[in-house]
């Protein structure tokens, strides 16, 4: 098929006319759709909601975050849960913990690992020292240790061994 410049010019002009018309419609539809649907709350929900497909557990030591957050560089915290014979050792990127407190880190860890229980009867230490409350602020490189079923004496003995 040999083409002529006249036919080609007409074809392209017709195509571009239709195209720019549709493009304009698309632009306004996308703009409107974003305005109608975007909200920070919905985004937050999409980012943080645990899927119903994921298994949940009442054992806080069943799962742990594998690996180290190397991209966080010095901006990390360690959150360790000791359940007697088992333990869950986690290094977490502090940037991902929205509420930068001990409680915030534990809540986020519970969400990540699928732990649905509470923190009653947990004895927790911040940097091996007793802390006042779960609202205590977390700094970079901090270590939170939480013990289930151990007394203060047993915890002190445990720290001597590690």
């Amino acid at each position: 098929m040999e083409l002529s410049w006249e036919e080609t010019r007409k074809f392209i002009s017709k195509y571009l006319l239709i195209y720019f018309g549709l493009a304009l419609v698309l632009f306004f539809v996308l703009r409107w759709y974003k305005t109608a649907n975007f909200s920070q709350d919905t985004l937050e929900t999409m980012l943080t909601t645990v899927s119903v497909l994921r298994d949940k557990t009442d054992d806080p030591c069943k799962y742990a975050i594998l690996g180290e957050p190397t991209t966080a560089q010095a901006n990390y915290v360690k959150v360790n849960i000791y359940c007697g014979r088992t333990k869950s050792l986690n290094s977490m990127d502090l940037r991902a913990i929205k509420e930068k407190t001990v409680g915030g880190a534990l809540t986020e860890l519970a969400r990540i690992n699928g732990y649905t229980g509470n923190r009653n009867n947990w004895i927790c230490k911040l940097n091996r020292k007793p802390f006042v409350s779960f609202e205590e602020k977390l700094e970079s490189k901090a270590t939170v240790d939480c013990f289930l079923g151990l007394s203060e004496k047993e915890i002190a003995k445990y720290y001597e061994t590690i």
Binding site: W5, L26, F27, N37, M46, R54, N113
Partner: protein, 471 residues
């Protein structure tokens, strides 16, 4: 009856081969490769899901230029207990790393299946549409091979693509390359028909296919280069016609890709520009030995290599194909490979195995062509035999690593000797002798069946335990 034999039987064969390919891709698809081995798979789906629910794409990105870069733990498929290696996901929006077509397909499919939050986009859901697309790739490759070389090559190529262990595993991954590859094949088929029949319809469809492929990934610009090269190479047409065809294809293809730019204008054009510039400043991760690596190894993920002999036979066959006078048919194979190669080497970026996916169907069509060389000329039987022995040997070695069959090595040695000497002795025989012809056909059929069976056996070896050992 003749029509049935000529068309219906081969079409039925290809459909059965596609069904086989689909089955192999589906077997263990949600566990191999490990979910999270490439977090891009989830990011692609999140882009689509967020476009549907929020009206803007939200995805993972390490590129500078975004106003929002939020570190998050999204423990889909429990990746933080397995493959994520401890680093958080850097979530950005509006996300402009790549055009969103793969996201819309996989995210849209997830939404249709009930996903509403990011953790719902599990591998068992998002990999399914990709398997469908890659099954389509088998059929399209078969059709292209039929147009170029006839039914024998088409069936051989389709069988290889359906069963090659590298293709089977690659075809499951939610990567843009699995979306643009079938479109790459389709664009060549449409160009073939345009050159035969003419008409604005084929030309427009071809151009839109190229534009659609570019909405999967910018590297699909290789399709445009390839189409333009094939158009301009057709010296039967006058220069003015070729220039007009090139202009029409470029205008339509680029305008379809322009939908990405229009969406950027609607969402946040300044971020789009910053990210585009940051994209062009990516490190050249594939390295200067990329071409050597491409031919000599078969990488499948970021770090794993899945040794498969078929692509190598394709590269070797390409060297032969480019020298043959096949009335320009060979151009429909080596031009796409070289076009994508140019883009692959120019873009660089990281040496991920999935960047190589678009090469594979073309290389495996070449493998199919080599495999059936003995049908066109019985003196080339040795070429077909060696073509088949390369992947067979690799498959048997991998199988032997796990199942130590004592008889395998002596059987291999004797069979190779017999096959190669037998093939060479054909140079001294009368090709027209029907007994010789059928003996050769029967032997090659058995050998090909063995190779395909070894492909299937090897694909069946990919369990979770075995995948840990793949390196």
């Amino acid at each position: 009856m003749k029509l049935f034999k000529r068309i219906a039987l081969p079409v039925l064969a290809v459909i059965l081969i596609m069904a086989l390919g689909y089955k192999l891709r589906l077997s263990g698809f949600n566990s191999i490769p490990f979910p999270g081995e490439s977090l891009d798979e989830y990011s692609n789906a999140w882009v689509g899901l967020s476009m549907i629910r929020l009206g803007v794409p939200v995805g993972m990105s390490g590129l500078p230029g975004y106003p929002v870069q939020d570190s998050r733990y999204i423990n889909v498929d429990r990746v933080f207990q397995t493959t994520a290696n401890g680093n958080t996901m850097q979530m950005s929006y509006p996300w402009f790393d790549h055009p969103p077509m793969m996201g819309l397909i996989t995210g849209g499919f997830s939404y249709f299946k009930g996903a509403r939050v990011f953790e719902d986009t599990t591998a068992v859901t998002i990999r399914k549409p990709v398997i469908l697309m890659s099954t389509l790739t088998i059929g399209l490759a078969a059709y292209l091979a039929y147009l170029l070389f006839g039914w024998e090559t088409a069936i051989a190529a389709a069988t290889i693509i359906a069963t090659s262990p590298l293709m089977v595993i690659n075809s499951r991954m939610v990567q843009a390359e699995n979306g643009l590859t079938p479109l790459f094949l389709l664009s060549l088929i449409l160009l073939w028909w345009y050159e035969k029949k003419g008409g604005y319809t084929f030309l427009t469809l071809l151009s839109m296919t190229i534009g659609l492929a570019m909405l999967f990934k910018l590297s699909a610009v290789a399709l445009l280069f390839c189409a333009l090269a094939l158009i301009f190479a057709n010296v039967k047409k006058n220069s003015a016609t070729r220039w007009q065809e090139g202009l029409i294809v470029s205008v339509i293809a680029l305008s379809v890709f322009g939908i990405f730019v229009i969406s950027a204008l609607a969402w946040d054009f300044s971020t789009f520009v910053k990210v585009f510039l940051a994209n062009s400043g990516r490190a050249y991760g594939i390295g200067l030995s990329a071409l050597f690596d491409l031919i000599t190894n078969t990488k499948i993920t970021a770090v794993k290599f899945l040794t498969d002999g078929w692509p190598l036979t394709g590269w070797l066959g390409l060297a032969i194909l480019t020298r043959m006078d096949l009335r320009n048919k060979a151009w429909y194979l080596w031009l796409p490979i070289f076009s994508y190669l140019a883009v692959y080497l120019f873009f660089g970026s990281e040496p991920f195995g999935w960047y190589r996916i678009p090469f594979l169907p073309f290389l495996l069509i070449v493998s199919g062509w080599l495999t059936t060389a003995f049908i066109r000329n019985m003196h080339l039987t040795a070429v077909s035999v060696v073509t088949l022995l390369i992947p067979l040997g690799i498959n048997l070695e991998k199988y032997f690593d796990v199942h130590k069959l004592i008889w395998l090595i002596p059987a291999w040695r004797l069979s190779c000797l017999a096959l190669i000497i037998g093939a060479l002795s054909l140079l001294m025989t009368d090709q027209a002798n029907p007994k010789v012809k059928w003996a050769v056909y029967a032997t090659m059929f058995v050998l090909f069946s063995l190779v395909i069976y070894s492909n299937i056996l090897r694909a069946g070896m990919f369990t979770v335990d075995y995948w840990y050992k793949v390196n």
